[in-house]
Structures are given as C-alpha cells and as structure tokens.
Amino acid sequence: MTATDGPEPYTGALSRQPRNALVVVDDPDAVELTGPVFGTADVTEPDADLTRQHPGQPLGERITVTGRVQDRAGRPVRGQLVEIWQANAAGRYAHRRDQHDAPLDPNFTGAGRCLTDEQGRYRFTTIRPGAYPWGGNSRSWRPAHIHFSLFGTAFTQRLVTQMYFPGDPLLPLDPIWHAVRDAADRQRLVAAYDPELSVPGRSLGYRWDVVLDAGPR
C-alpha cells in the first residue's frame, strides 16, 4: 500500500462488493489450470483495425497499440484472445446507456479483437479515445483509456483492465486509476509512446505490455 496525494480512490459499487475477504486459492483445481481456446473462426483479420470497420474513416488521432502478453514467469501467452472497447475521439461510447452529450461517430464503433502471435504479441489500430465526464460531479473526467479483456492458458489468468496514455493530466485526478492503490502497479496500466511503433504518416505508436497471473506450473 502506498500513500497517495491523489483523489479518493474508487471503491466500486457498494452494494456489489464482497462482504467477506476474498479467498486466495493456492491450489486451483486442474480444471482452472486450463482455459478456453480461440482460433481463426473467432477472429477475422480486420477485427484488429478499428478504423476500417465502416465505410468512412473515424475522426480522431489514429494510433497503433501493441505489446506482449506474458505470464509472471515471462512465458509468452500465445494464440489467445485479446478484446478491446473504447469511447470515440469525442469521449462517447457506442452504447445506448452512454448519455454523455458528445457526438457519436458513424464511422467508429470502438470494439476490436485479435489473437496473440507466437511471441505473445497483440496489435490494434484505432483512434485515441476522448475523455468524458462521469458520476455526479461534472468536473470529474475520466482520462483517455482503452478497456482490455485478456485470456491466458488457464482460466485463473483471466484479466479485464484498462490501459491509459502517458502524460494525461487527468490521470493524477482519476479515482478509478487510483483504485489500484500501489503507485508502481498503477504505472503498469499506462502505455508508453514509442515512435518506433508509429506507422509513418499514418499512426502514433504506443507500447503496452501485459503480465497475467502465474498460470499452470
């Protein structure tokens, strides 16, 4: 636990929180040391390019987000499903419960998926999502973020999280980012700008590596 001068951390929806401490399973059953598998039937190649899912180009700053998925022992997680979803450049989700008064983009849905390659790498082309206000306090804006869903080779490695952008002035004020109490752990959720990953004349490159829980021993 790290002391923080940031905002009061988000503690989740009160009525949904566990009443008892979570039980760490030291010896998950064999079933949970395996997990679902996905293949070419589940993912088509254009799914990883969120800028080409409609007749026109979406508005916004085009970016390439790529990185490596590995377990805590450093082993690449190969051939597994990575799914993302995000707001458009104006900070609006293509979801009917999002009532933020910002325009929808007819050329952007904001959902993508791909399978990791033999080195555990994933790669998406998308646009940088916009910030948006949340909660009752209109001065509280979520920093730009992309939601990530990842599978490992074991069901216990399942991970759903959010990726942030470096240098975002909203980050130090974001209660949800601060829901991760450890400062070093919080930084694990922030991508790095990497011009080597930029596609010349087309997109800005960001690197974000992911470490899943231990997995099968």
Binding site: D42, F155, T161, V211
Partner: protein
C-alpha cells in the same frame, strides 16, 4: 516468478457492444439430447438484480477432457458478422450477459470428471476478479 501481474480494473458499464456474442450461453451442440439448462439471476447485496453483469463459464467436456475447442465466438470471415456457434463443436466456454431481471441462461452438457462449472463474474463496480490470484 519474475514480474508482477498487471492489475485488474472494473469492466465498467459499456462492454455490451463489444464482448457478448450470439449463442454465447449455448455450449451444448444443437439438439443434443443430454443438454442441461443452468439458469439463475445475479443479485447485488440489496437483493436488486444486476442487469449489467457478464458471466463466463469454463468446464471440461463430458468425457473429462479439458482441451476446449475454438469457435465460442464465431465470426463470418467475409462480412465479419458475429454469427454465433456452429452448433457442432463443444468448446467448453460460455459467455452470457445478464438481462434486465439479472437473469442468465446457460445450455450445456454435464462436465466429465468434476461436479461443477467454473464461473467468472464481471460487472461494473467490481474491482477484483473472482479469482484474486496468487501473489
């Protein structure tokens, strides 16, 4: 062990257009005579239905094998439409979003070798995964 794991964050309220798929809860092959239906509701601590939860199920096949199979979230290759399952393969994996009453339905086959299904519960306002992991 080398690295620390990437921390989880809440799934938030807006995954609905990205993660659920047609037939996500239909693990059993179409018309299989031994299909079982597992159904229920997700409720919060006040007993109110949770209408924005995502449940994921993982289980062995009836013969006890745990290799799974691809095809839980099939897409049509040319147009990219989410077409659901082929109704043939037993993938062992199910994904169901709850309805307005918090309800879910899973149609599957009894797992071989173990008397349970593994379940992962994801919902807005939950900060941890159900399996908090080893550190």
């Amino acid at each position: 062990m080398t690295g620390r794991r990437t921390p989880p964050q809440t799934i938030g309220p807006y995954f609905g257009y990205a993660l659920p798929r047609p037939d996500g809860g239909r693990i059993a092959p179409t018309g299989h005579p031994e299909t079982i239906t597992v159904h229920g509701r997700v409720l919060d601590g006040q007993g109110e239905p949770v209408d924005d939860a995502l449940l994921e199920f993982w289980q062995p096949a009836p013969d006890g094998s745990r290799t799974g199979a691809p095809g839980s979230l099939r897409r049509e290759a040319v147009g990219g439409a989410a077409v659901g399952r082929d109704g043939v393969a037993f993938t062992g994996f199910g994904r169901v979003a709850t309805g307005a009453d918090g309800g879910y339905v899973l149609r599957t086959l009894r797992p071989g070798g173990v008397p349970y299904l593994s379940v992962c519960v994801l919902a807005r306002g939950l900060l941890q995964h159900p399996s908090p992991g080893r550190t």
